[in-house]
Subunit: 217 residues, 2 copies
């Protein structure tokens, strides 16, 4: 069938490059439309390529979404573990983790939207996301457990897990807050989160803050 095909003859690129472009486009489109409302046509167009290429390289819509999820998730994890030094006091570790986390979200708002806002809701992906969250909860849990061990104290495992969940949840919520406010500063957000998580609302209301800065630096 195909007609003369050629308009101004676009550049041909190696597969690896195109794949990244497609993933970039997919993340953008999924992020602003949602999984279902996003059409493969729009993703292809946004990537400057035609639809069958997307199918040829990344497979079906679901597989494409999984690929996005995987890439963004890996990036986030890497950013965090790179930020958290080892062998530091627990509050310092937490602080660095939060800084890295909010830094990432501030710099990759689309990725964040795909990763959490979308994946959490859509049935087939909730599992994959849950796995990622487990890992984060585990990381935080381990950190807290070490802090406890250093003090020679003990808390039930479930309490630790719940605490880690609360921490992760609060962070996710503030990440949403941050993602919706382009002018907000990731570092300030991290500071506020740290104050809330470490010092607690009760002490915070009494004027206590996490060392050394006052509540609003």
């Amino acid at each position: 069938m195909a007609r003369v095909t050629t308009s101004p003859t676009f550049k041909r690129l190696p597969r690896a490059v195109r794949e990244q472009q497609m993933l970039d486009a997919a993340v953008r489109v999924f992020s602003r439309r949602g999984f279902h409302a996003a059409s493969m046509d729009e993703i292809a167009e946004d990537a400057g390529i035609s639809k069958p290429m997307v199918y040829a390289y990344l497979g079906t819509k679901e597989e494409l979404f999984i690929a996005c999820l995987h890439r963004e998730g890996t990036r986030l994890m890497e950013a965090i573990v790179a930020g958290v030094g080892t062998d530091l006091p627990p509050d310092e570790q937490l602080w660095r983790g939060l800084r890295a986390f909010f830094g990432f979200v501030g710099a990759h708002r689309d990725g964040w939207a795909v990763l959490y806002r979308q994946a959490r809701a859509q049935q087939p992906f909730a599992g994959a996301l849950a796995t990622m969250r487990e890992r984060m909860v585990e990381v935080i849990g381990t950190m807290l457990a070490q802090a406890l061990a250093a003090e020679g104290r003990e808390i039930r495992d479930m309490d630790l897990e719940v605490m880690a969940y609360a921490l992760v949840g609060a962070s996710e919520s503030l990440a949403d807050w941050l993602a919706d406010r382009p002018d907000a500063d990731p570092d300030k957000t991290a500071t506020r989160m740290m104050n809330f998580a470490w010092v607690g609302a009760g002490q915070l209301l009494h004027g206590e803050t996490w060392p050394p800065a006052p509540l609003s630096p």
Copy 2:
């Protein structure tokens, strides 16, 4: 066209009753399938009624979802304001709010899933949900502001807002945790949340807890 229509001739019910049945069904189906994967046919079938009735009473799929959102949201809000007494010390107020909140989620897991897991992701509804969350944030913010005023202290508005967001976010996260664990106890979850939010991770690790119960009652 229509055939003999009648099998054993089901009960005819007044509109108000059917509407509630439909909403019940819609919440169930939306909750387990997600907005898009849910079909109007399945909702109708689950409600024990045929599709055109749904359109006649509740309108299009979007409108139906909005109706679910509205009903569940109102119920949640009512449960909370009923729980929070007025003119109590702030920690007591927070504690009661959390109890009511987790109690509601424990008893209406489907409603919770629709309200948050779904609405947050789907484009057209994010706005409506955001409004509801604003209200909650405002309620909490006001509460915190009163607590501050009682102490004669002051914090920037934005810090209060962020703190409220963190609190709401942590609660949502634990609500998810709770919704996924049928055997978990809402009251215990509320206790853990209260400890985390009020006392803070730092003090918690030192063995401090919120009065009067120890960490795991």
